[in-house]
């Protein structure tokens, strides 16, 4: 078993947290994982991305140029990473911010997730990242969304623990969207 993904967006969209939670969930599921952040020098507003590699064997490279999956939360990320995804790979697009024409991929497996609208339904637009992560867990078949939820207490800083229920709800919504097909 081997899987890698680049998760990218604006700083502040919570892409690093998505990577962290995914890595934590995969580790709890008994996998080998690496999480590698890449960001600019700005504390806010710059572009940010991280790479998560999940494998049965110890992970060699924590970075990949042509990933099996890209999760793109904004337009620059879509333009940069979607074309790099392998032919049979997977692209998850934040369709609340990225219009179709900016997503050029070799793979046919491109999924649109209206993260913002769905997050607002849950009650907080900042949960867009969790909606997307739920979708990613479901569509990739990497980990069950409940396993992702179970890893939240370890992945989130203690001061955010009161947010776990609402984060869980967002994760489930994202997963449900993908199970509907």
């Amino acid at each position: 078993m081997y899987f890698d993904t680049i998760i990218a967006g604006f700083g502040g969209q919570g892409v690093m947290l998505m990577g962290n939670v995914l890595a934590a969930a995969a580790m709890q599921a008994g996998r080998q994982v690496t999480y590698m952040p890449v960001y600019g020098v700005e504390m806010r507003g710059g572009t940010a991305n991280c790479t998560v590699v999940i494998s049965d064997k110890p992970v060699g490279s924590p970075i990949v140029h042509e990933p099996l999956c890209a999760v793109v939360m904004n337009r620059p990320s879509a333009e940069k990473f979607a074309p790099r995804v392998k032919r049979k790979g997977l692209v998850l697009v934040n369709s609340s911010l990225v219009e179709d024409q900016y997503v050029q991929a070799r793979t046919k497996r491109v999924y649109k997730v209206p993260t913002l609208e769905m997050a607002q339904e849950v009650g907080n637009p900042r949960l867009a990242n969790m909606v997307m992560l739920g979708a990613l867990a479901q569509v990739s078949g990497l980990v069950d969304v409940e396993q992702v939820i179970a890893s939240l207490p370890k992945a989130l800083d203690k001061r955010y623990h009161k947010m776990i229920p609402i984060n869980s709800e967002a994760l489930r919504r994202g997963a449900a969207l993908m199970s509907q097909g």
């Binding site: 580790m27 080998q32 060699g60």
Partner: protein, 353 residues
Amino acid sequence: MAQRVLIKGNEAIGKGALAAGCRFYFGYPITPQNDIPEFMSAELPKVGGTFIQAESEVASINMLLGAAATGARAMTSSSSPGISLKQEGISYLCGSEIPGVIVNMSRSGPGLGGIHPSQGDYFQATRGGGHGDYRTLVLAPSTAQENYDLTMLAFDLADKYRNPVLILGDALLGNIKEPVELKPYRKKPPRKDWALTGCKGRQQQILKSLYLADGELTERNWVLWKKYQSMQKEARWEEYRLEDAKLAVVAFGSVARILKSSVDMLRDKGHQVGILRPITLYPFPSQAVKETAQRVGRLMVVELNTGQMVEDVKLAAECQAQVDFYGRPPGSIPTPDELAKEILKVIKKGGAR
């Protein structure tokens, strides 16, 4: 089984230091190692330790010198430009035979350079870096787990040889997050009869590096040389898929782990290639390189610089093998595919035996 946690490479360094009984940390902020002082500032007070954010790198290393002179386990960390500033203190630590652990989560240079991973500090680390004829032990981790394990080892080696030990990582190894098994530290730190604790009940003790009397410094340098010779037995390395290899790639640290993916790709295509990864950069695993050179006949060195360790490899290989080189200066991290292509070029070039 020891606790397994998903933590950042920098934090693994901090946890390793705490586990090994380090109770004194002195540092100064610089990217990409800030997680280390941040971690130590939060954790040391909980165990009765001391954290000082010093006024400079120069002050940090000298605070370490002071604390370690009393026998305490002490650490400082920085990144390339900051390590340049610490060279004065490192030279004095060597001259005065005071142990200490110095972490370089290196960035890129020269000058202010950038915050990309780079292995441009290899010469600085292995050649001393400061003034005088001295050596520091240099450990080069390749995973967050090794950040943890080798930090504990660093304290043991520092005490064993009364010498500073450098941990040379880079931005990739500092920022990567991966599972780390928090193995407990089981060693018993040695007695330090040389430590300065006040002369009650004994003769005055002095830790110094100034020797002006006739012949004194010559003798002193030979004593240190003998010590550096005795360190040679600490050479450590890892061999990866080398058994039947026709080409051995020699690489350390972050790029060595990327190369493992490249080697796996090439092996899948039937190419007989493996990796020799020095874990200690000083002492350099010269014997292992020489034996590999003799057995495999073909070496390729890959570094995130324009060619530094390749000199040590050539020296160790003693012309027993052709040595190719691929260097990547800082700015981007090479991907496994890119490195596989470079290795393939060397394989296709043929030659050697």
